[in-house]
């Protein structure tokens, strides 16, 4: 399993994470499904969580529904989500596993330490929805 982003996508995620630091940011990864998945667009989502915004994010299901519907018939799909971990490693937390556990979606996590992007990784839940595994993340120039 692999997911391909361009440097521009990575920069867009980093900019978003810097803008919300020290709070978490989150957003959508949109593109062509398949092997590998090709991201064509990263789109910011609003973090609607009320409390503990430095350590939590929630995407409004309605916003998600809107994005999903907007993509219908476009040949593009929602491939997954990105979010930032301010001052924490780019690995999923227990909370991520309990609350964002959808097999098939890619979960890209950017670790941002003191406003500087630190590490970027992508994670997948296995088909049983029990274990999380890393997904190969390639970054291309165009």
């Amino acid at each position: 399993m692999a997911i391909v982003l361009t440097t521009a996508h990575v920069r867009a995620i980093e900019d978003h994470a810097r803008a919300t630091y020290p709070e978490e940011c989150c957003g959508f990864l949109i593109g062509e499904p398949g092997e590998p998945k090709r991201v064509r667009e990263v789109r910011r989502a609003t973090n609607v969580v009320a409390e503990d915004r430095a350590r939590r994010y929630v995407i409004d299901p309605k916003e998600l529904l809107g994005v999903d519907r907007g993509l219908a018939g476009s040949g593009r799909d929602l491939l997954g989500f990105y979010h930032s971990h301010p001052d924490h490693p780019a690995r999923p937390s227990e909370f991520d596993l309990e609350n964002a556990a959808w097999p098939g979606y890619s979960y890209v996590i950017l670790s941002i330490v003191g406003r500087s992007p630190n590490d970027l990784r992508s994670w997948l839940l296995d088909r049983d929805g029990r274990r999380v595994e890393t997904e190969t993340l390639s970054i291309t120039q165009e």
Binding site: C26, V58, I59, K62, H88, D96, W102, G129
Partner: protein
């Protein structure tokens, strides 16, 4: 019954032959999803838990509405409705393990390690020292000029628990030296603002506030909860109270005081050296040592003295270095000199000597003479600002005696008043006539009360004290008058 379209989210399409929507006929949401999983069995465990309820990270919408706000799974559906299964997307960076690490007192979380890195590489602090600070507690008495830098530096340094005692609200005159408060904070309780600021500096610090005056009744209960007590007050009753309570509880008391251009600091710790009473067994007579409100203070001075106190507190908590136990540090800002006086433990000290005579807290207001007869003026020798105004308007035959200092006089004074600072009154008393009606005033009515009593004792009968002083006059009678 209705023919509805069920939208399948991307991750689940693999279980329905890669289709993004399924059309089916159902009565309500439960029926529709039931029909879906009946046909595509693998979906069941993704949508339902073992009890057969929808999983908490599955949202279901009928058209534009979340079914939680409709009739949940019993929400009826009609021809042409769209049912969407929407994954709940949420998460966060802090795992339960991380949370535990941050709360644990025997180690530092990765964030804490980064935050305190300049301490951690310091030979006398290091990991062990920083963990000591995390487990330590400090009580700051007073959220004023000294309390500001104290709170700021101790919170930044990672002292785990900081208590602050204060009952004041922020006044415009505080801002010249109490630099954690802003202009827009005027009128707010100091504790509320300080707590906000300290949490902004370091959210890991537990800030506990006591919105009360420290009294003989509550002092032991409050001080007992802390490792180190820091005196940031500017009045003698509280200073003696903090000293005595610290001695009784065996706590180190980090002392600091400021006046005009001079500051003092020391550590009073009875088990290792002298206490405040070894230095000053009794307070000076009231009025002899003016307060900062009366004598002024350079705004930067509390920054220096408070910082010295903060350093001493950290050294005590770390158990490192030579503290100011047995030494009085005197800082003169005008000459820019630090001097040091040796302090010896007084074996006859009533508090910490070999045979202490004070074994419990006393009435410190009385001890400091503040309830003494000097400031008490009989009702018949008092005059209110309203009465004074009528008197001045009616006949004007009244001598207004201003007993403040010349610098205070320059800021504001009453028309036709005579300036005679407190200290000059005994030698200039011949300038006054016992035949005149005299009204004595100062800033707030305390100094003038003493002078009123003094004049009465030497034979003046027609002398009265202006209640509330020129402050009250400015407040009630002449709003144009400058206040200070």
């Amino acid at each position: 019954m209705g023919r509805v379209k069920l939208i399948i989210p991307t991750p689940l399409r693999q279980y329905v032959g890669d289709r993004d929507a399924i059309e089916l006929t159902a009565e309500d949401v439960r029926g529709a999803i039931g029909a879906l999983v009946a046909e595509y069995g693998q979906l069941r465990r993704h949508l339902f838990n073992d009890q057969g309820n929808l999983r908490n990270f599955v949202n279901v919408y009928v058209n534009e509405e979340d079914i939680r706000y409709l009739q949940k799974e019993s929400t009826p559906v009609r021809d042409g409705d769209t049912i969407s299964i929407v994954p709940s997307i949420a998460g966060g960076s802090l795992s339960a393990l991380d949370l535990l690490a941050a709360k644990r007192k025997d180690g530092l979380s990765p964030q804490e390690i980064k935050r305190y890195s300049r301490h951690l590489i310091l030979p006398d602090v290091g990991m062990a020292g920083q963990i000591r600070l995390k487990n330590a507690s400090v009580l700051i008495v007073g959220a004023g000029g000294l309390g500001n830098p104290l709170g700021q530096y101790l919170a930044a340094a990672g002292v785990g628990r900081i208590g602050v005692v204060d009952f004041d609200v922020i006044d415009l005159t505080n801002l010249q030296r109490q630099v954690m408060y802003s202009t827009q904070d005027v009128g707010r309780p100091k504790l509320d603002v300080l707590k906000e600021r300290l949490h902004a500096i370091n959210p890991n610090v537990d800030v506990q506030t006591y919105a009360t005056r420290l009294t003989s009744e509550n002092a032991l209960g409050i001080l007992r909860e802390y490792d180190v007590v820091i005196d940031g007050t500017d009045n003698f009753p509280t200073r003696y109270l903090v000293n005595d309570a610290s001695v009784l509880l065996g706590k180190p008391n980090v002392y600091g005081s400021i006046f005009r251009f001079e500051g003092q600091a020391s550590v009073f710790w009875a088990s290792k050296g002298p206490c405040y009473r070894c230095l000053y067994a009794e307070p000076p007579p009231p009025g002899l040592v003016p307060s900062c409100a009366e004598g002024g203070v350079l705004g930067v001075l509390p920054g220096i003295v408070g910082s010295v106190q903060a350093i001493e507190a950290l050294k005590i908590l770390l158990g490192k270095g030579d503290t100011l136990v047995g030494r009085l540090l005197v800082f003169d800002a005008m000459r820019m000199k630090f001097r040091e006086l040796k302090l010896r433990k007084n074996p006859d000290c009533p508090m910490c000597g070999t045979h202490p005579t004070i074994k419990e807290l006393i009435d410190y207001e009385e001890f400091c003479g503040l309830r003494g007869p000097n400031e008490q003026v009989g009702e018949e020798f008092q005059i209110t600002v309203d009465e004074l105004r009528s008197k001045v308007q009616d006949d004007g035959h009244v001598v207004l005696l201003d007993v403040r200092e010349p610098l205070e006089w320059e800021i504001a004074h009453l028309d036709d008043a005579v300036l005679m600072p407190v200290a000059q009154v005994p030698s200039r008393v011949n300038e006054l006539s016992t035949a005149d009606e005299i009204v004595v005033y100062c800033k707030s009515g305390i100094r003038s009360a003493r002078i009123t009593n003094f004049l009465r004792e030497i034979g003046f009968r027609k002398v009265k004290n202006l209640v509330g002083g020129i402050d009250e006059w400015a407040e009630r009678i002449d709003p144009e008058m400058a206040k200070y």
